[in-house]
Symmetry: C2
Subunit: 323 residues, 2 copies
């Protein structure tokens, strides 16, 4: 990185929100804007939102001191071509050269990368993975995504699609996943399933005169059953919430055993919305992972929480430009 | 490789047999010796057998024209240190520096590598994988081993243990595997299980006055139920043999879907004793793999048979020295 330049712009493109930040050379996040991605209005609307956010920040920070723009995007991303293909939940988006689109507006270098890979890179350079040369990063949210760090670098695989850990099946006769496979770990522990499972248990469990913590928190509104609420109830000892999260941790451990066996990894860093779950969930993951992984892989098994939280995407995207 | 040197020695160390060969620069196998590994008599007996075989070949080919010795070994192999740890079915073998032991006898460069990786390298450079930059190699025999080829090179993983595909679980509530995990693909399609499954079906199926092909081939001796016999019966249309192999292929396809999703691969090359199975087994693997793998990974899915057969180990071991 040219040391005269003071910062890099990191863009974390999600189907709901575009997050854009000013990131220093040392990975510090100086400033941040979040706006609606307008994903249902097609690619040009989304590009406009990205451009608008960057322009807004360039009103506060001199563009002449910006070294470049890094973008983390969902879907199939080609870092070489700068393209983003079929990002889920983006309307009319087949294949767009996002790097060229943004470059033409600002005349700065632009690098595009898969969003899970960006977050993995950020954890590797500035977050929970900083002390590990090799680890698996997992985004645990609506879906389960992954990024593989080998020798402190991202392992993209031959086609840029490595680390699709959400679609490792733990039961070939199991639940039908959105991807068409059966038993994918995503279909057992993704946000929607956890909410539905909690709802089902709440409905089927005989009511007591005293409200449980979960009943108290949602107050009859099942749409409030988000992971943060389930985690909050579990922290307070709610048995249904605790059971749902413990089971999810156990199942994730089973999937991780297969994945670590294949990739020869020992450390897992968990990010995404559900990574904020209570410590007992991490204990459940480690216990089941340790009981299942190959003996030769048991030494040094670690499962740890993200340090950067939801800023990992911006920081990781920015760090692409710094290299 | 020094072009003045005419050949390399390749050693394929198995618990039953040591195979040693003279391999040309272009991967041609000029000569080969197979002798008992004497694995139950401890490391020095095994080393003696390797040394004896090489000396025997050096009686036929001038050692002065040998560029070095490559050894493929089971267990945990450190190519950097030259050590082999805990190879299964080798008595009293904790950790042995096999490279130093052989080097001290011949004063030639010696390189040691995992046996599945050796076979993968051989298929990549001289076998079924020659047209593919990236593929997964599988040894399908008593156990299921694997080697991952990325960009025509072996992907060892951070600790040299990548590609343990036999211990990917397809059912977290499934069969108990030798490794302690449940539902490992090895426990469903490894040689011992296939033989046992065939035996069980033979016993439980009502006998007809006309003998089935399988009954004819084994003539009442269940110990003859090796994969080659099962394959032979299946080729002749035996329904039990066909069913067992078809089911094995289907289950392997399920495991491969998870593995290819994580590694971002499209091509699988199958070696090992059971790779000689009839073509319909490969069709079963491809059909189930295609039905389960991610849409983005479906293009170019291929599952093909080894070209080098049981010489892959020797040729791959030799090719380590040529690099």
């Amino acid at each position: 990185m040219n040391t005269k330049k003071a910062f890099v712009v990191g863009v974390d493109l999600g189907a709901t929100t575009v997050k854009v930040g000013i990131v220093t050379k040392s990975g510090g996040l100086l400033d941040q804007i979040s706006i609606d991605a307008r994903a249902k209005y097609g690619p040009s609307a989304v590009i406009q939102q990205i451009v608008f956010s960057i322009q807004e920040l360039f009103g506060r920070y001199k563009p002449s001191e910006c070294f470049g723009i890094g973008i983390g995007a969902p879907g199939i991303v080609s870092t070489v071509e700068g393209t983003v293909q079929h990002p889920p939940n983006f309307a009319n988006w087949t294949k767009v050269n996002l790097a060229n689109e943004i470059k033409s507006k600002f005349n700065l270098p632009v690098i595009v990368e898969n969003d899970a890979n960006c977050a993995a890179i950020a954890e590797a350079t500035h977050g929970a993975g900083i002390e590990f040369k090799n680890f698996l990063f997992i985004i645990w949210g609506t879906g389960i995504g992954g990024g593989v760090i080998i020798d402190r670098k991202i392992f993209r695989g031959p086609h840029g699609g490595a680390g699709e850990v959400g679609h490792v099946s733990i039961d070939y006769n199991g639940r039908l996943c959105n991807c068409g496979n059966y038993g994918c770990i995503e279909s057992y522990i993704g946000q929607r399933y956890l909410s539905q499972r909690t709802k089902d248990l709440l409905i089927s469990t005989p009511k007591n005169s005293v409200k449980t913590k979960l009943e108290e928190l949602i107050d009859g509104d099942f749409s409030k059953l988000e992971p943060s609420i389930i985690s909050q109830a579990a922290e307070a000892g709610d048995p249904i919430a605790t059971g749902v999260l413990e089971e999810a941790g156990e199942l994730l451990g089973y999937a991780l055993a297969s994945i670590l066996n294949v990739l020869d990894l020992r450390v897992v860093v968990i990010g995404g919305g559900i990574s904020a779950a209570p410590a007992f969930v991490y204990e459940a993951i480690i216990t089941s992972l340790r009981s299942r992984v190959l003996k030769s892989h048991k030494d040094g098994i670690r499962v740890i929480r993200t340090k950067l939280g939801n800023t990992a995407g911006i920081i990781g995207a920015a760090s692409l430009v710094m290299k």
